[in-house]
Symmetry: D2
């Protein structure tokens, strides 16, 4: 099978390589063309611009760094819109906001093309291992056409209905994650201040009904006040804000998410926005001076 691939950052490169390894013919493009070389060695063809890739392939996958790049690749000169047409598909796997996704969707559809948003859950390692979770929404027929590719890229793909639902699902998941992070942080702090070992708490948690990879991964570094940015706190807080806005739209009251969001905001006000989102632990455990008066 033949597929186009736009965007060869950390994620995109790993994903395109997996497609090549599994028998796909892939035509790649990247803004910095030199990044294509490694993939050419693995058997890829090069398209000279997004329009050329679209022209050559029945459907094209994009994995771009942010909404600005996602829009530019579609709307700029030599962009996707110039060649997309009836019968061709465009699958945007970048993480973008609902507005961006719907702008792209409308433009593609107007030209007769098929559109699918398909943001993923998982970062570098799962991308390399073909273990992403794919949250697809939009044109069902295109989803079905892309299943062989999704089977290679991810451990599981979901079709979630209309465009926008992929982004919404990510927000809901990240909201729960943000509240859980606060819950863990409060538990670690309470353990510590009550004379219990935080390490033992993590061990006990890991043996019980709420054991989960995030506690296992983040807990030990939180104890050491180390927060190397895997998922930056300011992005987590933005997602919680958007999830709360979604709740506002639908009159859903979410006091735990709201309280968690305020803790992340406090962390931002403390200058921790670029650290990992687990740095909210600094807010929870923060004290000053000589303790209780």
């Amino acid at each position: 099978m033949e597929v186009g691939f736009l965007g060869l950052g950390i994620m995109g490169k790993a994903m395109a390589a997996n497609l090549l390894k599994n028998g796909f013919k892939v035509t790649v493009w990247n803004r910095t063309l030199s990044k294509c070389e490694e993939l050419v060695e693995q058997g890829a063809s090069i398209g000279e611009n997004p329009a050329a890739v679209i022209n050559k392939c029945k459907y094209t996958i994009a994995m771009l760094s942010d909404p600005k790049a996602a829009l530019s690749v579609v709307f700029d000169k030599d962009g996707v819109l110039e060649q997309i047409c009836k019968g061709k598909g465009y699958i945007d796997m970048s993480t973008v906001d609902a507005d961006t996704s719907s702008k792209i969707s409308e433009a593609i559809t107007e030209k007769g093309g098929l559109f699918l948003e398909a943001p993923v859950s998982g970062s570098k390692k799962p991308a390399e291992d073909g273990q992403l979770v794919i949250l697809a929404a939009g044109e069902k027929a295109l989803y079905e056409e892309a299943i062989p590719a999704f089977d290679i890229l991810g451990k599981k793909a979901f079709f979630l209905g209309q465009v926008g639902n992929g982004a919404k699902m990510k927000l809901v998941v990240n909201m729960i994650m943000g509240s859980m992070m606060n819950a863990l942080s409060e538990g670690l702090t309470l353990a510590d201040k009550s004379g219990l070992s935080e390490d033992t708490l993590l061990d006990v948690l890991d043996l019980g009904a709420i054991a989960n990879p995030m506690f296992r991964m983040k807990g030990p570094s939180m104890i050491k006040s180390s927060y190397p940015p895997a998922f930056p706190l300011k992005h987590q807080q933005k997602d919680m804000r958007l999830a709360l806005a979604l709740g506002d739209e639908n009159a859903v009251s979410m006091p735990i998410a709201a309280a968690s969001n305020e803790a992340f905001k406090k962390a931002r006000s403390m200058g921790l926005g670029d650290l990992d989102f687990s740095a909210v632990h600094e807010v929870v455990k923060a004290t000053r001076g000589s303790g209780d008066a």
Copy 2:
């Protein structure tokens, strides 16, 4: 090895049976003596009262239903106190509050006995499978003596230091669990009201960094508004209250736990205290009349 065992409820019976199956000689006692029969068939001896069991065994394990029973077995006529003495150990694995535990500890210690509190995490199934998590605190020497028994009863035993720390550790774990339950409930509600499938949300969660047995176990029944009581909501709320009180003592600010506690209190006010603690979902998703005005 020889060990006493007081209390043959659902948990105690399974635990004593495991000890028997693994080569321990066990002398059992239960308030309703008929409950001992099944264990006698499996090879147990019977003690006619708690004092008699203590008298016969180097150390005795108790697994009683509540603080009242735990106190009665120790302090009443023919109780533990009448025979406990230097060289003998008493291990209370019941879930009791800190006050009860410390009363028992003092009384045992005053008679020269060794005391260990060892509440467990896990219910019927883990008890049967010898997969409990044991949170022991008190006399280190007795803990070490009991390791062979703990190895049979649980998948892991922790020694947490002074008496009271076992109960505290349980509170911290249950507090985190209560906040996580609220986070899940808010996520399910937001998904539903935003036009996403709750079942799909559970599937997505189960593939990611916050996948955990509780979400897997409770999520599907929450979607169906079904809350068969595994851990009653009123007990969960009591534990959150006690955890917050522990935080108050130590000047630890825990806004997420506090907000979760208020949700559980609201559930109590709605008459849901005897259902499973996942019934807090009824609070989160509750609406009335025709929706948003």
Copy 3:
């Protein structure tokens, strides 16, 4: 002095009448022209459209029902923009969002006109009594020119700096008000459920350091579950959302406002959005079935 006045709703009519009574010459306009008659009887002239009013007067005050009306009066055919020019002033006293205000401000300023936003605090009665509180922001020179009018319309006018600050100040005030309303509601509920008289609580509050007109005015009807809409709950919730968004922008953590906002959202989900904002009391006191389990 001569002044234009656009918009003769409940507020505008009372304000224009006060200006007339106090010696101002007023040229009025209203979309439904018949509403002008009453003011003509009191001595007002009529302008046939907003442009005509602007043309005739050195400065013009507008008091319109919502952002849509505020924009229409300025940008539509025969609107303010057609005649505004160097030396003329436009004072918008409507309650509009920051975006609307800044759009109008830019358009007026581009034409050389002077702009002042001047939302008010206070409703019908204070408007009639000339007891409004005026939150002005924008062109300082225009503010000073309008002081004689503001002295008639309000008990106090503030100049708050750049355009947008008037709207922001209202949000901050309404945010505090929303949190206080929740605090009162919780207090009333706790009193009632603890066997104290809610009426007596209101009496005690009114004698102490936190006595305030809102508690005095809303408290008695809240006890009777009566919420005739003075300030609709959905507008209060919108203001809290916007205040929280302003906090988000500036990394200000506000957990009490956030928790209050979630209570108002719950009220919306219960269909109470069109009632007075004191109807959040229904959320706080809500129970179901037979009470605590």
Copy 4:
């Protein structure tokens, strides 16, 4: 009329003096007897111990510093209990917890005496001016007998029913006050960070529906980060904890009070417990480093 008075601290001295000034015959006692002299000059008699005062007077008022003093005066040698009897009344106006109050009540009642708890709202100045608010509960007949004294001591006295209700009413009022303090603090912080003047916010608030003495009194010093202890933060937090516990007993969910309580706890953890309760402002506005990342 003749009345006994035990306890001549700042409050008690002012209250006893008011009774003397208004024609009461007063027999006073204080642990440090020298403190009685000033009142003797104003016409008071001295009782050599609490029992002697009780013996001499039909009813006796006590105004003691804390629960320990309140208990000691009643139960110690030469205490109230030795002379209290049928027909005699004891009115405890000290601020004590429900347990203390009910212990004293039971002891007095058992001897045939009449008991009234009557904590007050208001401190030194209102005590001097006879402007206290009196929250009485217990024996109705004694309340009625004491009305002439209450008319002198306070601007208003309430009879609240059974013993304990006076303390409960104070908790409810202080809970609302604590939430309002947090609301004000959030508003001040939001104003400041959004480019508005905090002083102007206070002016605007004072002209509107939520104007109240506390905002007027505490606001200006909060802006200056000055918190001279009028009502210590640790006492405010204790009252919020007790109010929340009362809510827990009665299954009342109070998320705003709970969030406010956590802010006060954070303030305690920062070493601010001995400052005025308005010092919670330090928690709300706290940031670190160079702001948002």
